[in-house]
């Protein structure tokens, strides 16, 4: 691999920012969760790159934990999406902007 570490970090930050924009701009709950996925993947890319940079396996192990975290997060948040859709018949985030006491 004859790539500067810098270029990998630039690629990861571009991907992270795309995910962040999806979270900030989109109003569809599913699209917001997809943005979170993109951000987690970008951080995984940095971990793998750091693992190669220092030639230690710890970064790759962290990616495995990141995958476990992601699957837990996705299962709970998709269950929440189903619940919210059942309650208000929509997945537009603007429908969920008030608290119920």
């Amino acid at each position: 691999m004859i790539v500067p570490f810098q270029h990998l970090l630039i690629l990861a930050s571009i991907l992270f920012l795309l995910g962040l924009m999806a979270v900030l701009v989109r109003r569809n709950l599913i699209m917001i969760l997809i943005g979170v996925e993109i951000m987690l993947n970008a951080s995984g890319l940095v971990l793998v790159g750091a693992s190669a940079f220092w030639q230690q396996l710890d970064g790759q192990v962290m990616v495995i934990f990141l995958m476990a975290l992601t699957s837990a997060e996705v299962s709970i948040s998709l269950a929440m999406v189903v619940y919210l859709n059942r309650r208000k018949k929509t997945i537009d985030v603007r429908a969920f902007d008030e608290l119920r006491g």
Binding site: M1, I2, V3, P4, F5, Q6, H7, L8, L9, I10, L11, S13, I14, L15, L17, L18, L20, M21, A22, L24, V25, R27, N28, I30, M31, I34, G35, E37, I38, N41, G44, L45, V48, G49, S51, A52, F53, Q55, D58, Q60, V61, I64, F65, M67, A68, L69, S71, A72, E73, S75, I76, L78, A79, V82, Y83, R86, T90, I91, D92, R94
Partner: protein
């Protein structure tokens, strides 16, 4: 050769992700994202992480994205109901694009300042055997904790996603 592959795959990943975040239809977004994850998995392989590359395809592209597809199908949203269609779209994108450009510029500047970031990545390969040894010896306790986390996530998802009308605690139904 590997260098060229890295840049091609990076361009594919960025393009597919950009397509994914701008699609109106969530199904199209998920498919583009699967494409992006395949490109990322190949980048992981180039970086000397074959095990992580395989798990990226199996878990992210295989399991999580298919879960998204299942939920999108299950929700059965009417085609007229599109949360992103209403409202002035450019006005909505403008501040986010400005903030994103500012953050990206600061990140790139910071990367320029860091002397270590300019170094080349060494050619390296971590075999799945070494990887498994590290995971289950040095990080054995963390693996146990992650298994608890997955159990709690399963219980939480089951609790939140109960069928409608079952207000009584779980196990109350015969």
């Amino acid at each position: 050769m590997a260098t060229l592959l890295f840049y091609i795959l990076g361009a594919v990943a960025v393009a597919a992700t950009a397509m994914a975040v701008t699609r109106r239809n969530p199904v199209h977004a998920v498919i583009y994202l699967v494409n992006s994850f395949f490109a990322l998995a190949l980048i992981f392989y180039l970086l000397g992480a074959p095990m992580v590359a395989a798990l990226e395809v199996i878990i992210y592209a295989g399991a999580i994205m298919v879960l998204f597809l299942f939920i999108i199908m299950m929700l059965e949203l009417s085609p007229g109901e599109d949360a992103d269609r209403q409202g002035p779209v450019p006005l909505q994108w403008l501040p986010v694009l400005l903030l994103g450009a500012a953050i990206l510029g600061c990140t790139l500047l910071l990367l320029q300042l860091d002397p270590a970031a300019g170094q080349q990545l060494p050619r390296w390969y971590a075999s799945p055997r070494d990887f498994g040894y590290t995971l289950f010896h040095e990080y054995a306790l963390a693996v146990e904790i992650v298994s608890f986390q997955l159990l709690f996530a399963a219980v939480g998802a089951f609790y939140v996603g109960r069928a409608a009308g079952t207000k009584e605690p779980l196990g109350g139904e015969r």
